[in-house]
């Protein structure tokens, strides 16, 4: 069954669920994706009335993590009196993981949220396609069987689907939102119980075998175009601090300039804050205007927490994330010893 018909089928299901959720007044608004006007992009949308339900779409360009709009709750999703509206949120795997993890971190109250689960079939690596198309303008993007068709002014290119989806989607094991036994009623549509995932992180081996100098060179090469627009921080559902470490000035910890060392420190410290929290949705790489691909750092964060503490973020709300807990028997091979 080709990608095209899969998307159609997913789209039909999520529209039906959204329609009767709104009809039965179970939710006040639906948070989903709508068709983008610029090529290779979609636009999140807040649906408040039944007749707008047909604006909801699903294709392989729904890269935004919608859990971002719930933490901190934006005024548009609050009633005029200020209480939180009941929201139905279209959730692919990583959005479901983000919601459960944010519930563990007590950032949102899952009672007035309905998770409309869908089984995601991969998000296109739009930055890579844009870079390979180069300076030619893209008019229309469509999928047929197993390819992504890009139509432009006087050219038409085909990209193999499995090759050009996000690195994270290629190895993703959580296609639909992980069902959490205690919160039975909020999961509608696709969802699967998941205790843990097994992942050998083989895609990182090649990079990790390099010498520190080569790694440093690669990271400098990767982060150099950064213009500090913070789109990666604003798109990440786990970045909800009201005063980011970069903006603090009592004391000023790290520089905010586009000097290469400041850029690398910003991405290093932000990555450190995401250890055991990042849900590998790839939104930070999809939104970067300069096409910086942070997927490898995301993979490293997942590997680090999986191998050391056997934890994967956002699967269920029983286990505390590693950085909020401690354990006597953690291995400490990195400590300095006398021998």
């Amino acid at each position: 069954m080709g990608i095209e018909s899969e998307n159609k089928e997913i789209e039909k299901n999520l529209r039906d669920i959204a329609r009767n959720l709104l009809q039965e007044k179970k939710v006040d608004a639906i948070l989903g994706y709508s068709k983008g006007t610029a090529p290779l992009s979609t636009s999140p949308i807040i649906i408040r009335h039944i007749d707008e339900v047909n604006k909801l779409i699903w294709n392989n360009l729904c890269y935004m993590n919608l859990a971002k709009y719930l933490v901190p709750r934006i005024p548009q999703l609050k009633s005029p009196k200020g209480e939180d509206l009941k929201i139905g949120i279209i959730a692919k795997g990583c959005v479901g993981r983000a919601l459960i993890h944010l519930n563990v971190e007590k950032q949102l109250n899952l009672d007035n949220i309905k998770i409309i689960g869908i089984s995601c079939n991969g998000i296109v690596n739009r930055k890579r396609i844009e870079r390979e198309i180069g300076e030619k303008e893209i008019f229309e993007v469509s999928t047929s069987e197993n390819n992504i068709m890009i139509k432009g002014k006087d050219f038409e290119k085909k990209f193999s689907f499995d090759e050009y989806i996000n690195e994270l989607c290629k190895v993703c094991k959580v296609k639909s939102p992980p069902k959490d036994s205690e919160l039975e009623d909020i999961f509608i549509g696709e969802s699967r119980e998941m205790k843990s995932i097994d992942d050998d992180f083989s895609d990182l081996k090649e990079f990790e075998s390099k010498s520190p100098e080569e790694k440093w060179q690669y990271i400098k090469e990767l982060l150099e175009p950064c213009i500090r627009c913070y789109a990666c921080r604003e798109a990440c559902p786990m970045c909800y601090c009201n005063l980011c470490f970069v903006d603090q000035n009592k004391p000023i910890w790290f520089g905010k300039t586009t000097d290469l060392s400041d850029i690398i420190i910003f991405h290093l410290v932000r990555a450190m804050h995401l250890a055991g929290r990042c849900v590998a949705c790839g939104a930070c790489s999809s939104v970067c205007p300069m096409g910086i691909d942070l997927n490898m750092i995301t993979r490293k964060l997942e590997k680090l927490v999986k191998e050391r503490f056997n934890f994967t973020s956002g699967l269920n709300s029983k286990f505390l994330p590693p950085m909020m807990a401690y354990n006597m028997e953690d291995d400490e091979e990195f400590m300095l010893e006398e021998n």
Binding site: N249, K250, P251, I252
Partner: protein
């Protein structure tokens, strides 16, 4: 080619702690180079971007009046990182000063009118500059009678005690101090600025009201002034806004299409009503 971001260098001559809690200090600055003094001619109500180079820069209203020739005074409350650095300074430290910025009180328009000065909290510093300027014997007869209403949370917060005592002794102006709650040993009025203004009820004809203080006090005071049918052009107000460059270039202090740092900080209520309600 004059680089507008380079400050003139001054030295701290004297530091006076203004309140018991010691989070308000008045710094007296003297220019290191003599000719800088002439380059820095200002009128009351203007502010300056003073900076501890290495720590940062912040916009502070000039508390001294141009008639006090020898030095420039700033009253600084310990709030953020730069103001805390100012509070750790000693006499003799170097302070950069850029300005004067803003339009200041319209001293010419206020000629031969009676002036009602209403101040609250530590925002009284720009009003002190105006009062001392008006009381200077060169300019006193330009203005009719002056009433000063100065409100504070408690007696420990009152600024410029010796100036206030001097003004009380004079007969050509009427100073009314008030604090929010009753306190032992406090002989002056008690209550918020707005009710006190209602009892004083200055007459609105040929008068200008100058208001400066925290946002809630401004809102209540303007309401009372409108009750005493002061017209919108007669009510002047100095606004507080986040600023970085002070010369209308960094773009953050805008209300509508006006920049508070160059088109303000003094706005009449008439102008404020034309601007969008975004301050």
């Amino acid at each position: 080619m004059h680089n507008p971001y380079i400050p003139l260098l001054t030295e701290i001559k004297d530091i006076v702690s203004e309140n018991k809690v010691n989070d308000l200090k008045t710094l007296e600055l003297v220019f290191k180079k003599e000719e800088d003094y002439k380059a820095f001619t200002y009128i009351p109500g203007q502010f300056a971007e003073i900076s501890l180079i290495g720590k940062g820069e912040c916009p502070i209203g000039i508390a001294s009046s141009p008639t006090e020739e020898d030095s420039i005074k700033f009253t600084i409350k310990k709030m953020g990182s730069v103001t805390t650095a100012f509070h750790n300074c000693e006499v003799g430290d170097i302070v950069g000063i850029r300005g004067p910025c803003g339009n200041g009180w319209p001293i010419d328009e206020m000629k031969n009118k009676n002036i009602v000065v209403i101040g609250g909290g530590f925002a009284f510093s720009t009003l002190r500059s105006l009062i001392i300027y008006m009381l200077d014997n060169k300019y006193r007869n330009n203005y009719k009678d002056i009433t000063v209403i100065y409100g504070n949370r408690d007696s420990g917060e009152v600024l410029y005690r010796n100036d206030l005592d001097k003004w009380k002794k004079r007969n050509d102006l009427n100073v009314i101090l008030t604090i929010d709650q009753e306190e032992k040993g406090w002989k002056e009025k008690v209550g918020f600025v707005a009710p006190v203004l209602k009892d004083v009820s200055p007459s609105p004809e040929n008068a200008i009201a100058v208001v400066c203080g925290p946002p809630i006090m401004i809102k209540t005071t303007i309401a009372v002034l409108e009750e005493l049918n002061f017209k919108d052009e007669q009510i002047l107000n100095s606004l507080e806004m986040r600023m970085k460059c002070g010369i209308g270039k960094c773009g953050r202090c805008n209300i509508g299409n006006k920049f508070v740092c160059i088109d303000g900080p003094v706005f009449s209520l008439a102008e404020l009503k034309k601007l969008p309600n975004e301050y």
